[in-house]
Amino acid sequence: MASVQPDGEPRIGVYICHCGVNIASKVDTESARDFAGGLPGVVLSRDYKFMCSDPGQEMIREDIREHGINRVVVASCSPLMHERTFRNACIAAGLNPFYFQMANIREQVSWVTVDRAEASAKAKALIAAAVRRVARARALEKKRVPVHGDVVVVGGGIAGIHAALTLAEAGKHVYLVEREPTIGGHMAQFDKTFPTLDCAACILTPKMSEVGAHPNITLWTYSEVDAVSGFTGNFRVTVRRKARYVDESTCVGCQECVEACVLRKDKVQVPDEFNVGLSKRKAVYLPFPQATPACVVIDPNACLQLMKGKCAQTCVDACERLSIDFEQEDEVVEVECGAIILATGYKTFDAHRTPEYGYGRYDNVYTSLEVERLVNASGPTGGEVKLRDGSAPERVGIIHCVGSRDRKHNAYCSKVCCMYSLKLAHLIKERTGAEVFNFYIDMRTPGKGYEEFYDRLLEEGMQVVRGRVAEVTDWAMTDAEKGKLVIRAEDTLIGTARRIPVDMVVLSVGLEPHADAEDVRRRFNISCSTEGWFLERHPKLAPVSTFTDGVWVAGCCQGPKDIPETVAQAGAAAGEALALIDRGHVEIEPNTAWIDAEACSGCKTCIPLCPFSAISRNEELGVAEINEALCKGCGTCVAACPSGAAQQNLFTDEEIFEEIEGALSYA
């Protein structure tokens, strides 16, 4: 047990932070200081503008040296925020960092309390609690555990691709796990990217093939993470590689088998995921020409052989490299890694949920993603914007905020829709010369060159109506409206209801977390925001970290964002992972549990309780023993121990009893 003799009688120094006005405006820091000064064991108490600033920390260091302070209490923000800062200050002055205690009087007091007197009282109570607790503190040593050098990246969209490449370039080995048969994600489906209008494929596919070829990247597509165990620096990740029924090592993606597949161009074929159902594909298929890996996959829900067990198996005959293997089964592999990056992306809002816009009822109501495929040269129409009947639209209405900024669906703004709607407006006009209307609530174009792009569209003669569309119907009030889709909205800038007949409606659907985001976050032991996006550790200061050390998030799985932001986050996440790995070790809070052999009655109550099987029974002594290396410091055994023999460093019973009494010692 890493315990050292207490450095003599407690000489406690208390420091109360104003945090500018964040605390001082609600807590009477002067009287708190004087109150603290009167508490037993406190030899000095000060208050200061910013304790976390250099002068603030220096104050602590100096007091430790000059006044022999051997216990430190800082009353400021949350320990999750600055505990580390102040512990380091102690270390710098030669004091064991575990003689430090923090009182959270910002997040827990000044920011949540209306009345100044109430806030001051609560702050004093928390200070008293911290003072009494720290008096019982004991010196401890942090454990150091070596870090595994590999990284697992989950999700092969642009975020995962960029993170993986960054790490691989730094010489780390990366396992890139992607659920779909190819990497590329949503970006691969897009035609152009705003605001520069450079072609998505042109900038993405080189990175994709780089991933496929990189010696430091193990690419596992059509695979999912089943389980994760371990802690930061040393994770064990179980990956299920779904049966592809094709030997990835030999298939070169020549697609002879696709030609050969007996499913004919009729209803037997299945909707093509990559073209969002606008075209059909066969049972064996390559998602799209530049798919990485260039390896076909057989859809077990469409393949006659796999479904009914009987088929001519023309594909097998067609494959010279004998890659097709109907016997293939799911393969489960386990890898160890030091860090994990989640880049699982998003799904688009299901337009069926807004029946008033007629998606699914009227042929010519499309979602924005469908239109991305329509305008794409490699898309189902070869880049021609054609309606279901093959004709070109003469007037198009683009409806913004579908499923976004709507408390019935998603209260948040999906952030990218305004810009991609402008982009689609440009492309549709360019391809068809159609008159394009944009129906928006607010046009949100913050970003480099974004507002300029909006200007350009306006100059190109795009029509804009500031008003949220109420409904799309085929109900004609005038002859001009006959046979058209009629969009009804209030032109709020003019203050009149307008009916605008169009040939094509584009629904700018918002971004949503994946349906299984909840399971995934459980698997990786991180949190989700109420909307279901992965929760970052701090919205400003730790935007790619999670509450689980060693796990980072990047891209849209953390919230809607556009490509530049996504790539930036991916780089950031990779950087954070590198910092961990190159440090080579993690320091672990010494909050492990231990058994006081003299007090242990050997009753074994604790043994089955430990989720990490860290407790065993020493048969000759007849007492329990805790393997410190396995103990993760939850303290369950301590709470259960009937004789009080089990104790937890940093959270001993008496430390907590003192804290309780301290907290109650001030009204």
Binding site: P40, Q108, V112, C634, G635, D653
Partner: protein, 164 residues
């Protein structure tokens, strides 16, 4: 250590000791702060690593030492950072509640809530509800109850033994 409690005002505000687990509920209560939600000032939060660490003795001591209510906050079932600490907590909590009932402690005084890191508003709501309920009930009188062996002293002696 001498008792430092100051003269307590006649009709003092109800005081609630809250034990929050480090990973979910404590984080949520921080989030309540960063989102500037205002709620009743009656709670005093004590951070533990896991709700599984919460010894029923903590709750009893809190009530005995003048708390009018105790709130326990942990991760939702299935979300425990240590796999199942919150279940253990729940088990003990049920037993504790029975014991408290026998001692005539009203049900609303001691409450267990699963609050995820993102559920700041839940922290606010629960705190407000509880403060209101307990204000209605008035101060808690548990001094009467049989006092347990003072483990504080015992384990301190043990510590000395081990440390040396």
């Amino acid at each position: 250590m001498p008792d430092v409690s100051l003269p307590i005002a006649e009709e003092r505000k109800p005081r609630i000791i809250a034990f929050f687990c480090n990973w979910c509920t404590y984080t949520a209560s921080d989030l309540a702060g960063t989102s500037r939600m205002s709620y009743a000032p009656n709670t005093r939060v004590i951070r533990v690593m896991c709700s599984g660490r919460i010894d029923p003795e903590f709750v009893l001591t809190a009530l005995r030492k003048g708390a009018d209510g105790v709130l326990i906050g942990g991760c939702h079932p299935g979300d425990c950072h240590y796999q199942e600490g919150n279940y253990k907590c729940l088990r003990r909590f049920r037993l504790l509640k029975r014991y408290l009932a026998q001692m005539g402690v009203e049900d609303e005084r001691v409450r267990l809530e699963w609050i995820a890191a993102s559920e700041a508003d839940r922290v606010r709501r629960v705190t407000d509800e509880m403060s209101e309920a307990i204000a209605r009930l008035g101060p808690c009188r548990l001094e009467a109850a049989p006092s347990p062996p003072d483990r504080g002293v015992e384990s301190e002696q043990r510590l000395a033994g081990v440390a040396s």
